[in-house]
């Protein structure tokens, strides 16, 4: 028998007003792991987090923490730290009172509270703000107070609901690093919700990608990027978004584009570009070719031709918006390599073992 996981979500289901929001969720989390719940808006991430904290009851399934069933444990006995999206700090208390709230509830003595407070204030660089009212500190500071308040009770599990979404872009990048550093330092098991794939990629040990109440794919960030299970995952992870081109297979060759402007790709060439070998005896049909913007390169001997519709200079990188084979394709290249101008025609090709093949339902075939 395998060791019981630290946290285990088993067959959890939930619906609101007969609309299912979570369908048979199963998640195992190891101790000390940083798991990111990623998914589009409304896919049920917050709902799952709230079920973990006991703020909402699930209709089906159970939550096991360290082998104990939490179903009958009320929120206040769960020892779970929660950082809310809008922080939910107590407006009538000072920073100090907010942070020490959980310790006072636990009736810890004054000395203990003072020491704890000093440590956490230090860790989150909140020194000097202790006596301020919540309305008198900035958004970034509020975010850290919320984190401090959740961490100071030394919860078994830390839940973060989009903790960065209310910060401006610059602050977000630094807080991102900060949270991961603290998490690793304290070794606290953490589940963070986000719908920002960059946050998910940079912060998580593991990403659980959700869609419409189901887990689409779960694994380390790299794996989700390099080896997506289906079209949804490939489109959700990676920026700019992956290009999907309709293609037709007639049993021997692939065709891109329509009858007036089309190009034929032999099966051998295609197998060379596809990440994995397509199934034997692939039936003749219409398919979708998934091409990441970074899987293309300009090559004078490239067999494909495209016209540049638009150039997006992002500093180090440049995104070329190409018109080719009746589709718009985005190609990402190093800005130094970009000598082209709008309306130029450029030859290009694909990197080896970098393309995906999906059927029309979005299942990945290669």
């Amino acid at each position: 028998m395998a060791a019981t996981p630290f946290l285990s979500v088993q067959h959890v289901e939930k619906s609101f007003d007969n609309t299912p929001v979570l369908l048979d969720m199963n998640i195992d989390v190891e101790k000390g792991e940083f798991v990111v719940l990623l998914g589009p808006s409304g896919c049920g991430k917050t709902t799952l987090l709230r079920i973990l904290a006991g703020l909402i009851e699930a209709e089906e399934g159970r939550i096991m923490l360290e082998g104990n069933d939490l179903s009958r444990t009320p929120t206040h006995n769960r020892e779970i730290g929660f950082v809310f999206q809008r922080y939910a700090l107590f407006p009538h208390m000072t920073v100090r009172e907010n942070i020490s709230y959980g310790l006072k509830i636990r009736k810890r003595d004054k000395q203990f509270i003072r020491e704890k407070l000093a440590t956490i204030v230090d860790l989150l660089e909140l020194g000097g703000l202790e006596e301020r009212k919540i309305s008198e500190i900035s958004g970034g500071q509020q975010q850290r107070v919320a984190l401090a308040r959740a961490l100071v009770i030394e919860p078994k599990l830390l839940l973060l609901d989009e903790p960065l979404s209310n910060l401006d872009a610059k602050l977000r990048a630094s807080v991102r690093v900060n949270i991961v550093e603290i998490q690793k330092k304290l070794g606290i098991t953490t589940i963070m919700v986000t719908h920002d794939q960059i946050e998910a990629m940079t912060m998580g040990d593991r990403i659980i990608l959700m869609n419409e109440g189901k887990i689409q794919q779960s694994g380390p960030p790299k794996e989700l990027y390099a080896n997506p299970k289906d079209r949804f995952v490939s489109e959700f992870i990676g920026s700019p978004k992956i290009n999907t081109l309709p293609t037709t297979f007639d049993g021997t060759s692939f065709y891109l584009g329509n009858s007036e402007n089309s190009i034929t790709i032999s099966l051998t060439d295609m197998c060379n570009w596809l990440m994995t070998t397509p199934p034997k005896n692939l039936p003749a049909n219409n398919y979708l070719l998934g091409i990441r913007p970074e899987s293309m390169r300009i090559a004078s001997d490239g067999m494909f031709l495209a016209t540049i519709a638009f150039l997006e200079d992002c500093g180090a990188d440049t995104h070329l918006h190409l018109k080719a084979y009746r589709s718009r394709i985005i190609m990402r290249i190093n800005s130094c390599d970009c000598k082209q101008a709008v309306n130029d025609t450029v030859p290009f090709t694909f990197l080896d073992k970098s393309l995906y093949l999906f059927d029309l339902e979005g299942n990945r075939l290669a």
């Binding site: 009320p74 929120t75 206040h76 006995n77 779970i80 107590f90 308040r149």
Partner: protein, 259 residues
């Protein structure tokens, strides 16, 4: 131009609205018994007599006690109801809310005619507890309305945060919810106090002869003996207190936004 016309008009209308109060103040210092205008001279005689007058002191005492009890009763049953109804996801919620707000819509005098018969059947006519309950009924709508309004300003996640930090539901209510709805409670308490303290209609119907509140006493006197300078001084003093409380409530809680 139009702006100035409107401004002048507005001041005149305000003067009209406040005229009785102003006159009460002026006349309370008028040395003539007969409310001559302009005043005959300045005197504190009426206030001195007020301080010596046991009847009025007693009536004011009864009114205060009554208003205080009615507010306490209204708050202690009104706050839990407002809170529970606010948190209740049910279509029955609006029905119950409508029930609790109905005293605002149904005329008090009609109710009072029913109440006098009911109280006489129950032996409550003229009793203090009967008065307290009746006044609580007219205060509860304000408690429900104002507490609900301040619950709308409360971020529910602060309650959830308290729960995750280890607070039981009861502890959460007292440490997070209650401080957030404090303005609604204080304002409805003050407002309710004033309603009860100044009520004539309900009190004349059911008060009987033992617990004669101060406005009932004034009403009876005004109807039977006409205007008494002593009553004017009492009114002026009470009005003064009411104005101070109202201005303080505005200054510290911006209460006019809630009313």
């Amino acid at each position: 131009m139009w702006k100035h016309v409107n401004r002048v008009l507005s001041w005149l209308i305000l003067l009209f609205m406040l005229a009785p109060i102003i006159i009460i103040f002026l006349n309370s210092f008028n040395s003539s018994r007969f409310f001559s205008f302009p005043p005959d001279g300045f005197t504190l005689e009426w206030y001195r007599r007020f301080l010596e007058n046991n009847e009025y002191r007693k009536a004011i005492g009864i009114s205060t006690e009554l208003a205080f009890s009615a507010v306490i009763l209204a708050l202690s049953v009104g706050i839990p109801s407002a809170y529970a109804l606010f948190k209740w996801d049910s279509s029955k919620r609006s029905i119950l809310q409508a029930v609790f707000l109905s005293p605002l819509m149904l005329p008090g005098i009609v109710w009072a005619i029913g109440l006098i018969q009911y109280y006489s059947m129950m032996g409550l006519l003229g009793s203090f507890i009967g008065l307290v309950c009746a006044h609580a009924i007219i205060i509860i709508p304000y408690v429900i309305r104002l507490v609900t309004a301040s619950l709308c300003y409360l971020d529910e996640d602060t309650e959830h945060a308290a729960r995750t930090l280890g607070a039981t539901p009861v502890k959460t209510f007292f440490s997070v919810t209650l401080p957030a709805i404090k303005p609604g409670i204080i304002i409805s308490g003050i407002f309710g106090f004033m309603i009860s303290f100044t009520d004539v209609v309900i009190a004349t119907f059911i008060a009987g002869s033992k617990y004669i509140t101060y406005p009932v006493r004034m009403y009876v006197e005004l109807r039977t003996e006409g205007l008494d300078p002593l009553a004017v001084a009492v009114s002026a003093a009470i009005m003064f207190v009411i104005i101070i409380i109202a201005l303080l409530a505005e200054k510290s809680l911006s209460w006019s936004k809630y009313l």
